[in-house]
């Protein structure tokens, strides 16, 4: 019974709360018990506020008729989000005493929608890395295979939802840090159009590329959270699959990819065709230098923020992040500006593509979750750093700024989830969520629950 609740969607939980079949206090205790049971295994949380959450759950139980979309729903947030009165560590020793004085905008909006923040999630230090490895707080494992990565940088957020420790989680996505771990853990990861969800009160990594995003059990829940995070958003429309034009990028997004993942995308494409969608090959901008462009923007921006801590606390940073910041110091200003101009060219090229399609479809990742500690993964005999592989198909859309969502599309023979990625038009978040919600309704994405015994 408690496992059923722990892995229920927000939609299902809200229905049960509204019918008084379940109280917010009972629901919270289901998660609290599991958090205790899986704390050592999941390494999902850096800090908890179960006392505060219990008080809010009691209040929610007295106000279940308030009409708010998330009343009594427990969620967690990556420990980059400020929550008033709590420490925001960013997964680093550098900020062990960094008490927030006010809520991040995203947290405030979640609170105003009735949701209950139960704790703050583990992450790659300062979101610098896609493996989620953290020498201080441990490395969050994949719920389907504890010897594998949950993925990062929102590793604890993915583990928290994936282990059934909360109903949903907030993360940040600078190169795929919400979508990739969601994909590896069998969840839905959504990053909206750049700038639509406020990043105020979130410790920055790269202002040009950072997005607030969500990790949920399904696309309907992603839509619910999006509306909560952006109260001015339009209603999520009903989208008929018939007549939708889905662009299939040629080349880069379908090369050096695990064969079973490609097969799962083929199945999804066949379903879309059968449902009446039109699949259209599209030529994307050259991807040859996109990682370099992204890195050239990321590291000087990260250094610019972290300069405030380096003099006094530089010795507290992990060695790899210091090396990344040092790289940021050694790039030239014109190289940084030029990289940002290339990003503008990507956006203009993509505007031409989106004039002819409603959405794009790609695999979410070219690999299933790598083993914890793996430095490299290999596809088609070509080795690649694990973190680069995890975000190879996601990072471009942080530069282009398009809304993008990853959703499960089957289980690999290795027992790990595989996922697809759909990308929508700028400010077409609602349309994209409506499209994916319809796909989810019509196509069986159901994955087995992880065996956590």
């Amino acid at each position: 019974m408690s496992a059923q609740l722990a892995f229920a969607s927000i939609g299902e939980l809200s229905r049960r709360l509204q019918t008084r079949d379940l109280s917010a206090a009972q629901l919270l205790e289901v998660y609290a018990e599991r958090i205790g049971r899986y704390a050592d295994t999941s390494k999902a949380f850096i800090s908890l506020d179960l006392g505060g959450a219990r008080r809010k759950a009691d209040t929610a139980d007295r106000n279940l008729d308030n009409g708010l979309p998330l009343t009594g729903i427990p969620y967690a947030c990556k420990d980059l989000f400020d929550v008033a009165g709590q420490i925001t560590t960013a997964g680093s020793k550098v900020l062990q005493d960094n008490t927030a004085h006010s809520d991040a905008d995203a947290i405030r909006n979640m609170n105003q929608a009735g949701a209950i923040c139960i704790g703050k999630n583990n992450l790659h230090e300062f979101a610098y890395g896609a493996t989620g490895e953290n020498i201080i707080y441990g490395t969050a494992p994949n719920p389907y295979d504890h010897s594998r990565l949950a993925g990062g940088s929102s590793s604890g957020s993915a583990a928290a939802v994936g282990f059934g420790l909360c109903a949903a989680a907030l993360g940040t996505d600078t190169g795929g840090s919400v979508r990739a771990p969601a994909a590896l853990c069998g969840l839905v990861g959504f990053k909206p159009t750049f700038g639509r969800i406020s990043t105020a009160g979130v410790i920055p990594y790269s202002w040009t590329l950072d997005h607030v995003g969500t990790l949920t059990r399904n696309a309907q829940d992603a839509a619910t959270l999006f509306k909560a995070l952006l109260p001015t958003a339009h209603d999520i429309p009903q989208v008929a699959l018939r007549g939708q034009v889905i662009g299939i990028p040629e080349g880069f997004f379908f090369t050096r990819c695990d064969r079973e993942i490609l097969d799962s995308i083929d199945l999804l494409m066949k379903f879309l065709r059968t449902a009446g969608a039109v699949l259209k090959p599209v030529s994307m901008p050259s991807m040859e230098h996109t990682r370099s462009v992204s890195l050239t923007v990321q590291m000087p921006e990260a250094l610019s923020f972290h300069n405030r801590y380096l003099e006094q606390r530089g010795h507290l940073y992990s060695q790899d992040f210091r090396a990344g910041l040092a790289l940021g110091q050694c790039l030239l200003a014109e190289q940084y500006i030029r990289a940002k101009r290339f990003i503008e060219t990507y956006r203009r090229d993509m505007a031409v593509i989106f004039a002819g399609v409603d959405a794009l479809l790609t695999p979410a990742t070219p690999v299933i979750a790598p083993a914890i500690g793996a430095v490299e993964v290999s596809v088609d005999g070509i080795p690649e750093p694990a973190g680069n592989a995890i975000t190879r198909y996601t990072s471009f859309f942080n530069m282009s700024g398009h809304p993008a969502i990853t959703l499960p599309c089957g289980m690999h023979s290795a027992g790990l989830p595989m996922a697809a990625q759909l990308i929508g038009r700028h400010h077409g978040d609602e349309q994209l969520l409506g499209l994916v919600r319809q796909i989810e309704t019509d196509y069986d994405f159901t994955l087995p629950l992880p065996d956590l015994a």
Binding site: F194, T296, L325, R338
Partner: protein, 67 residues
Amino acid sequence: MQKLDKKTLLGIRDQLGSYAWDDTEIDELVDPKLGIITGFQELLEQLEYLRRIDLGSTPPAGDISDA
């Protein structure tokens, strides 16, 4: 373009108003041994390639407006 050497990076650190990076970090950028930064020289070569592409009057990316 010549290969990056340590003296150049020490000059940036010591003469351009930089944070005082350790010698080991400078070494890692020039001659990676720890596997932390594995491609700075390669990144510089790619940036040199990109420098030769004429972007016309394209401005840096900014906000994304709701057209």
